[in-house]
């Protein structure tokens, strides 16, 4: 028991356990689930597919992790995905040679620029004007869909561009390129937050913004920065989503990705109250969500009914992570008084996310 206990208490234990259970269940249901084969020098198989499809979610969730760790939330990422994808596809569709590499780079830079402006807008609303994050980003979530449709003029822009398509479907070193992009972004964020003081500064701002400011941290600037980073991540995810289907749909691109991203972050153990963040947990959370989606597809259940399963997983993961639930559970099991409730956090958690 003594050896298992620290393992059970590890923050990544439950996410890993859930992922493992899902993989095992899949393998039992369909023995070929985990098999990977080499075809044309590329690796193919369900695990690779899960990794490739989860890449956009991982990107969005990375940005979301930073935002949530400052005690905020970014609902606008789905709209930013749609806008950046729409801008890039519009530029490419107007170009004389859609396969020109330089032109695609210009398109990406332009779309990224637009996304950064939108992220800065969110950042200013939250850090300078001081609007509650959920409502500040709700503005762009609602209006952004309209903007994306305005850019595409309500149409679906289809493009035929090799370099752009590669962002979503290309291969590199036998693996899909998207995996490397997501991995690169994750490593970059991890390096900046965990190898420098930035991560600790972000956590301290999330813990108490005013106290951090008095301690000499430019809290406003940090909060501003996380929204810009989140928008940049969302933009790259938007490129992947549109590249996957070689078309930009202002209405459907990135729809509900913000909810999935928030879920991934919460499953990964980051509290919505802010003050702590776990990048590895977030990536695991994104993988869990994508595995769940793939599982449900593989079982021939309609995507909408998949939401039912998602609801069950969300509630289950949240319950096992909720301190109040754990306290009740352990009290019943061992007959000992529960550990003291986390009272300093309590008031914070009652604030709506």
């Amino acid at each position: 028991m003594n050896r298992i206990k620290p393992l059970l208490g590890h923050r990544l234990f439950w996410p890993v356990a859930v992922l493992a259970v899902m993989l095992v269940a899949n393998t039992i249901y369909r023995p070929g689930f985990l098999s990977i084969e080499v075809n044309n020098g590329h690796l193919y198989g369900t695990p690779i597919d899960i990794l490739r499809l989860s890449a956009p979610l991982i990107l969005v969730a990375l940005g979301m992790t930073l935002v949530i760790s400052t005690g905020g939330i970014d609902l606008s990422v789905g709209s930013i995905c749609a806008i950046s994808g729409a801008v890039a596809c519009l530029y490419i569709s107007k170009a004389p040679d859609q396969n020109s590499f330089g032109m695609v780079l210009t398109a990406l830079a332009m779309a990224l620029g637009v996304a950064l402006v939108l992220g800065a807008w969110n950042g200013v609303l939250v850090s300078v004007i001081g609007i509650q994050p959920i409502i500040a980003t709700l503005i762009l979530m609602v209006a952004g869909r309209g903007l994306a449709q305005l850019i595409t003029e309500g149409q679906i822009i289809t493009i035929n561009s090799g370099p752009y398509r590669a962002i979503g479907l290309g291969h590199f070193l036998t693996l899909p390129l998207a995996i490397f992009i997501a991995l690169g972004a994750a490593l970059l964020v991890a390096a900046f937050t965990r190898r420098t003081a930035l991560g600790m500064i972000i956590e301290s701002v999330g813990g108490n913004r005013e106290a951090s400011r008095l301690a000499g941290i430019r809290s406003g600037r940090v909060v501003f920065l996380v929204y810009v980073v989140s928008a940049a991540c969302a933009a790259i995810a938007g490129f992947m989503m549109t590249a996957n289907v070689s078309s930009a749909d202002g209405n459907a691109a990135g729809l509900w990705v913000e909810l999935d991203a928030i879920l991934a972050v919460v499953i990964g153990g980051t509290s919505l109250a802010g003050g702590r963040f776990y990048l590895s947990g977030t990536i695991l959370g994104a993988l869990i969500i994508q595995t769940l989606t793939t599982t449900v597809y593989a079982m021939n259940i309609s995507p909408q009914t998949a939401l039912l399963f998602k609801a069950v997983v969300v509630i289950a993961v949240c319950l096992v992570q909720a301190p109040a639930f754990r306290a009740r559970f352990s009290r019943r099991r061992r007959g000992t008084p529960p550990p003291p409730a986390p009272s300093p956090q309590r008031q914070k958690e009652e604030v709506p996310a």
Binding site: G130, K310, A322
Partner: protein, 329 residues
Amino acid sequence: MSTTSLTTGPSWAKVPRRHVPVLATLALLLVMYGIGVSQYRAFSNVQVVFNVFIDNGFLLVVAVGMTFVILTGGIDLSVGSVVAMTAMVSAWLLQSGLPALLVLVVALLIGPTLGFLMGCAIHFFDIQPFIVTLAGMFFARGMCTFISNASIPITDGFWTTMSQYRIGDPRGNFVSVSVLVAFAVVLVAAYVLAYTRLGRNVYAIGGNPQSALLMGLPVGRTRIAVYTISGLCSAIGGILLSFYTLSGAPLIGVGMELDVIAAVVIGGTVLTGGSGYVFGTVLGVLVLGVIQTLITFDGSLNSWWTKIVIGGLLFAFILLQRLIGIRYK
């Protein structure tokens, strides 16, 4: 956060601060209506106003429920899905031949039950309302498609009567039954919030849950109650929607929660809780309805302008609340 005016002197000259957002919404509504009347001759027809109510009756009911939740400082993302689920379940049960009254009762029970469960999860396990109601949203939406992937038509006599019954004056202007139901819900909700113990508790918890607890107010019971109320309102909204469309469609009301939240915020309710009125929510819903009517009348503007305008209005009203110094956490 009491409704009695704390200001002294001539009451008409000094508007209490917390009334400013509602008055601003009212002014905006009048200006928009004025623009409509001055631009389009048919706009001054009374039926245009009635149509706004007919088209948004269900939204109004749902928004009233959301007002309760937001006043306590929570949020309910599940409303759109619960509306769809209620419509879907009633269409499905009617199709399988159950009597209309029984279906009505069953359909009206589902929403509050889900709301009650979500409230319990939020209160007893200390999970954020955002996450719990998100799971509720997924669950309800999943149930819709679990029942059927396609839209189910409703042919029941009671439903079609309700849908087609017109209450009007001799000149031909009319409202539907849904509008009356919506008004009834609004009046009951306004009464509960302003004059009952439950209503006072809602404001107190929204103001400061810790203080409310120390004052001995039943925080847990109230919190569970508001999610149940929101579920009930969504269920009523779902029934009204099924009167309106005479069908249950699995994908109806997607994104409705955003419209509802926007309406509540435009109506002057502060998202951190403790300040706002049902009357403001009514105005907020009307603003959304008039925007849609204006865009329909214009004809050259596309539907996406609705979203952009709503976003812009959200921004303007939040800025306004900020400027007049209503408390933000």
